[in-house]
Symmetry: C2
Subunit: 332 residues, 2 copies
């Protein structure tokens, strides 16, 4: 199904361009554990929210049915007629062919392969749909209404369990020739292993700055004698305790920040983009941002890189999905 | 002068859009040692060439006068009236603000700072001019008529004395927020020094794959006992002799290719572009391309990177300048 153009239902042409001004759109953030929806007006203002668990659900049809139910709730909640709904934008955590409207592959949590998500949504909902990768949508969110509003070039980097980037150059998302742009978790940098890793395994950079990599490293180094933190600590807890010099937590933060600074430095050299917006629970940690910025500032480059935490936080992807829906409604 | 819009002479609007079909353009490749010009028809076909030495010349006005003289020769040579000339495209080896038409900074050979090259050319020649960085123009050349013809996303990497890249994404040059995109010579990679370097000094990657870095490393390692090559060898001569296993030349090639593969791998992860076109005397060496491709092929990535030598060779920048002139003539 990859790269193949999917037949687009008539709904794409059933709306006039000006209709969106009196209409509404839905943004959907599809995750491996949660589905979140938001109803927004023609300016992107969120009117109502709805969420449900997706734990254990792998069938895309069931997810689409959940979305349809959620939209019913949202419309009822906001007392808006179904006919006022203009479009939906949806993001899934995986490689997404935005031209064909197909999710090519997600992680094991959803386990999707070549899911024609746009078609499923349009058939189920009777409105135009557009889809993209979750990190790209978060970048779109920060660009339209967040920490990167008003900038032309920036990179959004999400660090949670893993690491991913959404790149906006000249105001446009860079998606890549086979929809894989921004896979920076596999970057090779000084001081980290450069052995080839299997696809699906954590990348070299991911092992040092990703939540799972940090947790694993912590457990391997942990002894009762050197810290008051428990062996079962998360990356953000470890960063919280990185204030005491030379402690294990401080060493881990130092290693993460130094390596992350290398990755940002390399990216800034390549693209000459001045702003990096950091999202995700690990990426937004103030200690990581401060320590990484310090390493970056030590380098005498023509173009300085500025780090900023996501201003939309956990909503970045949802706001991006709304923005995508607004674009879709405008051209439908 | 940076970023400041320069008043554009009336010549910009004195031609009709269809005029280019009966007209000609000039491409100029301005270097620290040579100036090369080519006259081309409306399809970009080169009709005549001219060149002159720029050794010792640092004054931009003298370079522009040389260009004017060269154009006189070209028109005479091809028996084409001056009135048939529609535009000029020119590239200099430095950071170039293409909006303002200003060369912000070149290396010491020309030593330019904030030279309003577009204005100087338009005033001297009475035709519309456009300018860009030399590596960007080479990328444009390979994209319009070379090894990257027909591709949407690729990176051109020039390796001569130093290293630079021109990036084309979605068919458009990525120039960067302050015109410095593609400075990959400073990339930080496994196995090479990560200490901050002063601006103007060779970068970390440059030290390993650039002609000057290889030459310096060779001289430091050289003893009469281990090689028949002289101490004063160039990078391409060293690569020519890298066929004997475990020789110093083979070690240097191995180190260069491994490090270069890291840089390409990181770039491909970020941009997901499938093609890297290699230019410059060192970059086009078959031994380097073969060895680098071998390292890349060892990595199990979703997106494979293909290396190809420049098909335009030393003409890439000149052909790019012609292409830029054609674009300029079309919109003038």
């Amino acid at each position: 199904m990859t790269k193949q153009q999917i037949a687009v239902p008539n709904v794409h042409n059933s709306q006039s361009n000006s209709d969106i001004q009196e209409g509404y759109v839905v943004g959907a953030d599809i995750g491996g554990t949660n589905l979140r929806l938001a109803l927004a007006d023609h300016e992107g203002k969120v009117i109502a929210r709805w969420s449900a668990s997706t734990a254990g659900i792998r069938d895309a049809n069931i997810v689409v049915n959940l979305i349809a139910q959620g939209i019913d709730h949202l419309l009822q909640q906001a007392s808006i007629p179904r006919s006022a709904l203009r479009a939906i934008g949806a993001g899934a955590p995986g490689v997404t062919d935005t031209d064909a409207g197909v999710v090519i592959a997600t992680s094991y949590l959803l386990g999707w392969r070549n899911v024609p998500l746009r078609q499923l949504l349009e058939t189920a909902l009777g409105i135009p749909a557009a889809i993209d990768n979750d990190v790209n949508l978060a970048a779109l969110g920060e660009h339209s209404a967040g920490a990167a509003a008003g900038t032309k070039d920036f990179v959004f980097i999400a660090i949670g369990t893993g690491v991913g980037a959404g790149i906006i150059i000249n105001g446009q998302l860079v998606r890549g020739s086979i929809w894989c742009a921004g896979e920076i978790g596999y970057m090779l940098l000084p001081g980290i292993p450069d052995a080839p890793v299997e696809r699906g395994q954590p990348g070299a950079l991911e092992g040092v700055i990703g939540g799972e990599g940090i947790r694993t490293y912590w457990q391997a180094q942990w002894t009762e004698a050197i810290t008051t933190l428990p062996k079962e600590a998360t990356a953000t807890q470890i960063f919280d305790h990185a204030t005491e010099e030379n402690s294990l937590a401080a060493q881990i933060l130092d290693r993460a920040a130094r390596t992350f600074a290398y990755a940002i430095y390399n990216t800034a050299l390549m693209l000459n983009c001045p702003l990096f917006v950091l999202g995700g629970g690990v990426g937004m940690h103030p200690a990581l941002i401060e320590a990484t910025q310090k390493f970056l500032d030590q380098r005498n480059t023509r173009a300085k890189s500025r780090l900023a935490p996501s201003s939309l936080g956990a909503d970045a992807q949802l706001i991006g999905a709304i923005h995508l829906a607004l674009q879709t409604a405008a051209i439908a």
